[in-house]
Amino acid sequence: MTQSKKKADCGDHTDLITDLPWNVIDGILKYLNIRELVGTSILSRKWRYMWMSVLQLEFDEDFFYYCEEYYEGPEISRIMMEILMLHSGPLYKFTLSLPSDFMQIDCLDELILFLSTSGIKDLELQNLGFRTLSYQVPSYVFSCQELTSLDLNGFELSVPPNFGGLKRLIVLNFHLVTFESGALEKLIPGFPLLERLTISFCSGLECIDLSAPTLKVLRINSEGNIKTISLKNANNLIDFSLLDYRDEDSESVGVSCLIKSLPKIQRLVMEIFSFYYKVLYAAGGIRQSLVDSFSSLEYLQFVGTKLCEREGVLYIVSVLTNTPNLVELVVKNYEYGDYDDEQEPDQTKELESNGCCLGQLRKVKIEIGKLPAQLSISRDLLWMKRASQKAQVEFIHSKQ
């Protein structure tokens, strides 16, 4: 860096910031919004080009709201492209957040094409106005070969015909993305290093059928549109959470999870209605292929209604029979009111059989809404003599 070369130009005056190393100045600039950033160009001569070397740029909602006051869509596009053209050197992170109720922007393709030549590593595209205005994910996204992290929110996604994969991608998040049929399955094999995948409230994905041998973290949030999740070769998965917020009155059968083996799984979170547990249990799913597949599991969380019903308890217990290294167990039941079923099935016989020793269990948290019958679930779960004596057990009776 050849700053301070022309120090004589400014006379003897030294200010409090200009001559600090670039990493310090960049450290401040990265917290400024794009308007403040461009504003620094008129501070003094030395500052004129400084902002153009920042490593990250963000066009956030405030940028668009601000521009909307003065400009039409095409002009806003022009301003955005101009800023990118002025930028020099590598640009590692780029974020775009189109606000809801916003006019159409037509520079997306051009913008991403430009980024694909700037060594972009971290790309975040959000269309918060997805309900009224739809955008396709620009196909140039898949030309950004340096990408390690990609975040798409509120876009429609189809796979471009010349899709050749992103060889460095590690983190991939989809939120409110509408997939073209089969797109997810076509994409995933193109990411040979993928470790973290989030699929959150997306549509066009009735069946998720993935083979992802490098995947470590998988989060799926659904509003009831996913029917089956089939994971093959998930040998490196350590963290899996499935949240399904379905309308309880919905007629659909619920999600079934077909996972052959999870030898490294450490954290498992299932937040779904109880009748899905029934489905999981009846269909075998996780349970039947469990034999040694939960040996690394340390954290287990089940959330759902009617967890106290026989099938729910049996499902949890069937998982617990194969978790010798479990440290923390959380069971939450969000069902409130009086229990209408007087009969309390005697489950203890079944529960006692074939258990592994839960010698590592340190923390058990059971949160229930209904008393007294729901206590049976707690009692039954803890009936197992195998729980560690050191385990800290917490019961919470929440009355909504």
């Binding site: 130009d9 400014c10 005056h13 200010d15 409090l16 910031i17 200009t18 600090l20 190393p21 990493n23 310090v24 450290g27 401040i28 600039l29 990265k30 917290y31 400024l32 919004n33 794009i34 308007r35 403040e36 461009v38 504003g39 620094t40 160009s41 008129i42 501070l43 003094s44 001569r45 500052w47 004129r48 601000y66 521009c67 006051e69 003065y70 400009y71 301003i79």
Partner: protein
């Protein structure tokens, strides 16, 4: 601790105004300038002059390092500490601490100060920013007007 290649127990830091601070080795780990100095020496006690850092500032930096090096403190307690730490600083304290952090080559403290300073100039006019950093504009009024016009959108 396995890595006890040298048995330094106490490090003495001497600030620009001559005030002396005695700290444990784990406190200065974040100060890479100091740490690399220690690494080169093979002595039981070290005293290090820091001619670019004043005592008051060094005291604050050490306080920050102690809190963040502590393994007993929770993440929340550290965040709470950071919040209060920024709150009791004046604007020019922040700039001096930023310079000290840069000189001491402290990564996370530098980040922390940079963020605090960015918050000071957020949503402020060019004039305010110039004043805050004591930057003297060397543009003629005509040049500045020209530049404002080039990126007109940003100066509405």
């Amino acid at each position: 601790m396995a890595a006890e290649k040298s048995s330094i127990k106490i490090i003495t830091l001497i600030a620009a105004d001559g005030s002396v601070f005695e700290v444990e080795p784990n406190i200065v780990k974040e100060m890479k300038t100091v740490q690399s100095y220690i690494d080169e020496l093979d002595q039981n006690t070290v005293s290090i002059p820091l001619p670019n850092v004043f005592g008051n500032d060094l005291a604050m930096i050490i306080e920050y390092c102690k809190k963040h090096a502590s393994e007993e403190e929770t993440k929340e307690a550290k965040e709470e500490f950071d919040f209060e730490f920024v709150k009791r600083m004046k604007s020019d304290d922040k700039l001096r601490l930023l310079q000290a952090a840069s000189y001491l080559n402290m990564e996370s403290f530098l980040q922390f100060m940079a963020k605090a300073i960015a918050a000071e100039i957020e949503n402020q006019s060019v004039e305010f920013v110039r004043d805050y950093f004591q930057i003297e504009s060397d543009f003629t009024p005509e040049e500045e007007a020209e530049l404002r016009k080039e990126n007109e959108w940003a100066f509405k």
